[in-house]
Every structure is written in C-alpha cells, then in structure tokens.
C-alpha cells in the first residue's frame, strides 16, 4: 500500500519534470555520466574473469594469503588507528592541556600529504641506509613487512578516524556528565555509563573510515610491504609485471567486496546510531577535570605521537636537501633542481587535479541541489549515485578505466582525459557530501521568498542559490584538489610517459632507491597542497566563511 503510493507520487513528480526541461536534462546527463564512468567500468572488471579465474583465489596459495593478509592488516591497523584517534580527540576536546594547536596541526598534516609519505620517511629513518638504524645505532635490520607497515598505516590513517570521533565528542554536552555526577556516579562510572556509550557511534564511524582507507591503501604497502602479499600490491604487480588483466581483476574484486561491506556498514548502520542531537541553544559547562596523573599520561602519549609525526616530516625535509642519504650527508639543492627539471610532472599533477576537482565540484553541486531542493521522483537513485563511487577503492576504479576505455568508441588510454575523468569520479562522493552539508544550511524558504518577491525560477537560482553555494562549492573543490594532487592509487594504472604525475614519480624513485629526489618531489607536492589550502581559507575567510575539511 505505502509502496504503491510512493511509486504513484514518484510518477507524478516525474511527470512534472516535463515543464522543466533544463532540470530533466541535468538529471539525464548525471545518470548517464555516472552510469558510464562508474557503473560500467565496475561491471567490466567484475565480468572480465571467468568462474575458474575466481576459483584461483582459493586454489592458489599466494592469492589466498593476499586476501588473509589484507584483512589482517586492516584489522590491526584499524584498531591502532582508532585508539590513537580517540586519544587525540579526547585530549583535544576534553582536557585542559597546552600544545593543542600542535596536536591539531599534526592531525591536519596527513590530509595534505600523499599517502605514502610516512612510508618514505620511515625508510629514511630506519631503513638499510636509515639515519637511526645505520648512522646512530649501526644496525642492519629488515624493516620491510608487517610491523613496519602497521606503524606506518597507523600514523597515516588515524587522522581520518580522528575527525569523525572529534566531531562526536565535541557535540556531547558536558551537562550530561554533570547530571551523572550529580546523581552520585564516580569518575569511572561516568566514563563507562555516560561518556563512552555516547561516543560509541562516533568511534565505530571513525574506525570504519580508517578501515576503508587501510584496506585500499596502495602507496604504503608498495613501498614498505616488502614480501608481504596484499591485494592492492599483488593486483598492481599482475598488471605492471605480467599484463595479466584476468588475475588482476580477480584480486581487485576480492578487494572490492570487503570495501563495499565496510562502506555499507558505515553508511547505513553507524549512520543511524547517532544519539547526538544539536539543539544549538544548550550551554555546556567546562568539562569536569580528570585526575592529574591521567591527564598528564594522556598528554605525554599524545605528545610522543605528535613528535614522531613531526620527525617524519622533518626527516623528509632533511632528505630533500641531502646529497646521498646514508652515504653523503652534505646539504644540496640538487634534488630540488631535479624536481624542477621534471616540472612537467608537477604541472600535470596540478593541471589534472584542478580540472578534475572543478568538474567533480560542479557535478556534485548540481546533483546535491537536485536531491536536496527538488522533488523529481528519483531522488533516492540520484543520492545513491552521489555516494556510490565512495564504495569503490581507487585502484579498482583505475583498473576499471583501463579495461573500459582502451578500445573505441572511447579510446582514452594514455591521454590526459582519462586521468582527469578518473580523478573526477573518484572525488564525486567527497564533493557530494560537502555540497549536501552546505545546502542543508540554506533555509528551506529562502528560495520561496525570492519567488514570492517576483523572481522566476532562473532569477531565484542566480540571485539567491548560486551566491549561497559559493562556500560549499569552494570547500568541495579544495578538498577534491588536495585528494587529487596526493593521489596515487587511482592513477597508477592510467598514466603514460607524457601524463606522469608527481605521486607516480615518487613511487618510481623510491623503488630505484633515489631517496633524495623522492623526498624533494614529495615536499613540493605537500607545499602545493598546503598553499592551495591556506589560500582558499584566506580567500573565504575574507568573506566571513570558514572552510571545513
């Protein structure tokens, strides 16, 4: 009955679209685009191998091990990421300690960095030519493998979990804790019975975000995984070493399944379990002070991790200006000069990121606008299309693009277009949620008010909606740009010599042991990303808008 009515309503809404051809056109274009550039490549990859190819996953020990290793690494790295993230969030949100600015800065750093930076730095510190291992201790240790990867992934991905957990902790009213104290609960009971249950959805959400990132991480395992067989690196090896698309597809699908599961759980299970209500009027008291020894223990831990992260970036800077890491420690500008010789690749990075982000932000904006403000009968489908690419690992999308667009009618392999398109659709979910959040801030009746004063649909869109969308558009553009400049997994299968980007160069340099050049390259990429971020914050700040990441 209810389903029947809703279908009838949808049909009625769709019929009304006949009067708004522009809207109808936009919907059709979006559906076709996402269908062709996301759904089609995914299906292509899934259907490419036969059943017997898929059976290899169970028969061939190395592939089976890759599945097991990937899941295991995801599990332990996620646990450690979540623990560190909770520590940072709790200290920053609830404790009265110094150096909070430093802690916040540390959590921001990885967002403007390529995902493999920690791995690179880790090699510089503890590798065969490492400054700690060789220079200070004179040791010969093998840092490649499980333990190294675990540490590196924890440091790399905890900030993603942090931002979710911090958001939730911030919104828990301290009044609730005071209410519990008021009823006679001890500190520990308040934590266990009130604070922790309220945090739990946030912690779960943060953990899932970290898990998705760890699972699909390509850069770190590639550089530091050593012999450890993992799904992303094995798939890469199949393609780059053996041109075996069938096996690569099988491994990619094996990666896609847990990624989709994690994504669905995060989206539909955790999303509904938030107790946080934002009333806006509530005035919270200062947090109840915790015992001194607890406070300073937590502070020391946070400080230790923060210093380690600073050391990572410091090492990178040092490496960028050192002649031959491990042998000749004289300072030099040669590495930086090398980067400028390869300036074309940096230029590619900027160019592709700019175009892809512009496209993604625009498409996502239109999509979010239609889903939020127009009743078109297919809102649920459109919303799904907006978040769908988020379930697909970057490297899976890369493989999909290779397979879908290497033959006519759309032969794009090796072109700039394919790089831009892949980055564009990879960024849609990020831009979409940012645009949606921005749109929800706009009062429902503002557009009605413009219509009421005599503005037709076009005028009200131009005079009211567009100016108000500026801020969400900018923030999704910047976010997408940062992700694109530092992205490796999506483009690794798509670049050709002429379309190489910075992150790919770093990977190649690391593999041939050119640490100095690799560090210099990374440093330049981070500088670009950071400059763009600060610039955007400054421009928007002048208009009284805060850029949210």
């Amino acid at each position: 009955m209810a389903a029947g009515t809703s279908v009838r309503e949808s049909l009625k809404e769709m019929k009304r679209l006949k009067n708004e051809p522009l809207l109808l056109l936009a919907i059709i274009v979006i559906i076709l685009f996402v269908g062709f550039f996301v759904v089609y490549p995914v299906i292509k990859v899934i259907l490419f191998p036969g059943v017997e190819d898929y059976m290899q996953l169970f028969h061939k020990a190395r592939w089976f091990k890759a599945v097991k290793n990937s899941l295991f690494m995801t599990l332990i790295s996620t646990i450690s990421c979540t623990a560190v993230a909770f520590l940072f969030a709790y200290v920053i949100a609830r404790l009265d300690v110094p150096c909070k600015k430093l802690f916040r800065f540390v959590t921001l750093l990885p967002i403007v960095s390529p995902p493999f930076i920690v791995a690179l730095s880790y090699i510089l510190l503890f590798g065969v030519q490492g400054i700690v291992t060789k220079q200070l201790l004179g040791l010969q240790v093998d840092i490649y493998g499980r333990l190294g990867l675990w540490i590196v992934q924890t440091v790399t991905f905890f900030p993603y979990a942090y931002s979710v957990i911090y958001g939730v902790i911030r919104s828990i009213s301290t009044n609730l804790e005071y209410a519990a104290y008021n009823m006679g609960a001890t500190r520990w009971q308040v934590f266990r019975d009130v604070f922790w249950p309220l945090c739990r959805p946030g912690v779960a959400g943060g953990a899932l975000v970290a898990a998705i990132n760890v699972l699909t991480d390509f850069g770190n395992p590639q550089m530091i995984g050593g012999d450890l067989a993992l799904l992303p690196t094995e798939a890469y090896m199949q393609i780059s070493g053996w041109y075996d698309m069938k096996t690569a597809s099988v491994l990619a699908v094996a990666l896609l399944i847990p990624a989709v599961v994690l994504f669905l759980v995060q989206r539909f299970w955790v999303g509904r379990r938030s107790y946080v209500t934002i009333t806006g009027k509530e005035i919270s008291l200062n947090p109840f002070p915790v015992p001194k020894w607890v406070k300073w223990t937590l502070f020391s831990l946070t400080m230790f991790i923060s210093l380690f992260i600073l050391l990572v970036y410091g090492t990178l800077c040092y490496g960028a200006f050192t002649k031959a890491w491990g042998y000749d420690w004289t300072l030099t500008m040669e590495n930086i000069q090398y980067v400028f010789q390869k300036g074309h690749q940096i230029w590619n990075s900027i160019r592709y990121a700019f175009c892809a982000s512009l496209g993604a932000a625009f498409l996502a904006m239109v999509l979010a606008y239609i889903v939020q403000k127009k009743q078109v009968g297919v809102n649920k489908l459109l919303d799904f299309l907006g978040i769908l690419p988020g379930a697909i690992p970057g490297m899976f999308l890369g493989i999909g693009f290779v397979m879908a667009f290497n033959t006519p009618p759309l032969e794009l392999t090796g072109t700039s277009i394919i790089m831009i398109l892949a980055l564009l659709f990879w960024n849609i979910p990020t831009c979409y949620s940012s645009a949606t959040a921005g749109l929800q801030q706009i009062g429902a009746s503002v557009e009605d008010a413009a219509l009421n004063l005599g503005a037709n649909s076009f005028r009200s869109f131009k005079d009211v909606i567009i100016p108000l969308l500026k801020a969400p558009f900018m923030s999704s553009f910047v976010l997408s740009f940062l992700r694109s400049v530092t992205c490796l997994s999506v483009v690794i299968f798509l670049y050709a010599p002429a379309t190489t980007v910075g992150t790919v160069s770093v990977m190649v340099l690391v593999q041939s042991g050119q640490w100095g050049e690799a560090a210099a390259f990374t440093l330049v990429l981070i500088t670009i990303a950071f400059t763009v971020l600060k610039l955007a914050q400054w421009i928007l700040g002048k208009q009284g808008i805060e850029l949210e990441l």
């Binding site: 009605d448 009421n452 503005a455 037709n456 009200s460």
Partner: protein, 362 residues
Amino acid sequence: MAYIEFKNVVKRFGDFTALDHVSLEIPKGAFVTLLGPSGCGKTTLMRQLAGFSEPEEGDVLVDGKRMNGLPPFKRNTPLVFQEYALFPHMTVYENISYGLKLVKEPKEEIGRRVSEMLEMFNLMGLEKRFPREMSGGQQQRVAFARALVMGQEILLLDEPLSNLDAKLRVDVRTELRQIQRKLGITAIYVTHDQDEALSMSDIIAVMRQGRIEQIGTPWEIYFRPANRFVADFVGTVNFLDAKVLTASAHVLTVDHCGMELRVPTEIPASAGEEITLVVRPECIHLAAEGETLPEGAVLNGTIENYSFLGRMIRYWVRVGEETFVIDDANVDLSGARSGDVKLCLDAHKLHILKDGGAHADC
C-alpha cells in the same frame, strides 16, 4: 464582495488530505486569521494562495481572477515567513530592494521606497548590515519591510511572531495591526496563538484536520463557538452537560444534577433534549457572604484547589459531575477561599451547544 476567495479547495499529500474542501471568503482590507493547532492545514491553505503548491481541486480567486496554475512569482502576494527567510548574502538594503529591482524600478524610486520602509520599521542606519548581524526583532522588521515595499494589496503572514520573546510579540502585533489599517492592505495571518488571533483579527477562521470549523469575528468565536473543539481551542472553557426541562421562546430552563439554570438563548431546543453549556471562567464569580443570589443562575460547588496569580485567583471547583475553572479577579488580602461555595453565572454570556457539541448551528 469577497476580494480573496477559496472555493472548495482540496490538497492531498499522498494519502494524507491536508485541505478538505475548504471555502473562505475574505473582504478587501480585512485582517483574517487562520487559527488552529499544528498540522491543521492553515499554512498549507496560505501556500495555495502564494502559489507554492497547487490544489488538486477547487479554485483560488483574487479580485475575481482565478490564480490556479499561476507561478508564485506572478501572483503579487508578498509573504512574511516564519523564520523570515532573509537572504543571508544580502544587506538589509539589498534584501528590501530585491523585489523592486526585479520589476526594474528606477534607482531613485527604489531608494525612495526603501527609505520609506526603513523609516516605517525603525531600521534607519542598519541598511548595510547583514541579517546575521542583527537581532531577531530587527530581522523580523526587515522581513516585514521586504514584503510591504512592493506596495501590493495583499500581505500574507506565516506565524511571523513565533520566534520573538513574549513581550516583544505583544508590541509588534499592535504595531502590525496599525500599519495594516493605515495601508488598507488585506492581510491573511496564520497562527496557533489564540491571543494573537483574538487581538488582531477582523475575522478568524478556526481550522482542524484540513477543515474550517468556524468562521467569525473574535467575539463570535470566543462567546459563540460552533462546537467543543473551537470552544476548547480558543481560551479556557468549562463544559456543563445539562438536560432541557422547559423551553420557551427565548429562555431555556435546564438541569444539571438537580441544579436548575435559566438560560436566555436564540437557539431553539425542546424539553428533554441533552445540551452542553459553554461557560468561560471569567463569566462566573463566587458569591460573597450575604450576597443576594440571582435566580436561575447559581450552582453549588466545592473548592478543590487554587492557584494565586497576583491579579486574580484561579479556582478549581467541583460542580456536580464536572470540575470548573473559575477566575476570580476579586482578590482578597486575606487569602484564597475554601470549602463549599455558590457560583453565580453571567447568564447572558452562556452559550449552548447541541448534540454533545459535535456540530451546532449558530
């Protein structure tokens, strides 16, 4: 003649009927209030006139012209929104002048009319402010100015005072009524606040579940409610079930638990009929010691509880099978009364509902 007219308007959202054959005629220059609990359809009815949604059946007429199908931007029905809906990216001046800019008024004319509004709403000197830089009361006045600057004949108001604090609300409603009278605008005002409705309106339409329950002046709505719902929704009320003993041309004699009342009324009834008496709390007073009691207007009761409110005492008094609420404005320094009392009713202000008060003719 009706200036604005709703004719058998029906609006459905899926299976839910928001407006069920609503008809309402509004004369030119009137201040009409749509009053009702949330979800009764009052805002929906107004939105049909502004053109934000279209009725499934029925007509909306303004000055004899059918408005159905006309997009909102061609209707000239300025609306003041509940949450003001000021454009956050425009200054006060830009907000107020936006409508004039759309109809391409010359610059000087825009300037003149905007400053007229700024003066009327005491907003001088705030032209360059953004909405977020102003108090709620100021934002609200900008919203009024933005709607009135167009100089239209109609003004729609969707609970415009609900976000103001209590004292300001009383000030604004007097001011608003004066401006409406001065400009001779036909205003439709949506609210769930009975005080606002009674104090401002020429006509009140009380709505419930997508229907209009009663249309009338504030006096009619208050003293001659059409049914129990209207009586209960507008003000505090006591219901007294009674049986008609004798019926003459203009007076009924009724009985409640052995107490006899003589009620002057125009409503015809016959002996033996069950009726409901509507008695407002302020239409009763507690008889003082030795007071001569009016004949046929006295009930016996026992005080159960009271609440001292300063300017009056509210008593809860047991009368037969009912508990009455009585507001005694005659506060004595010695404190509240207790025990058995005699209630004297103001018989002329009594109102009779028939058929248990479900539906009654006025």
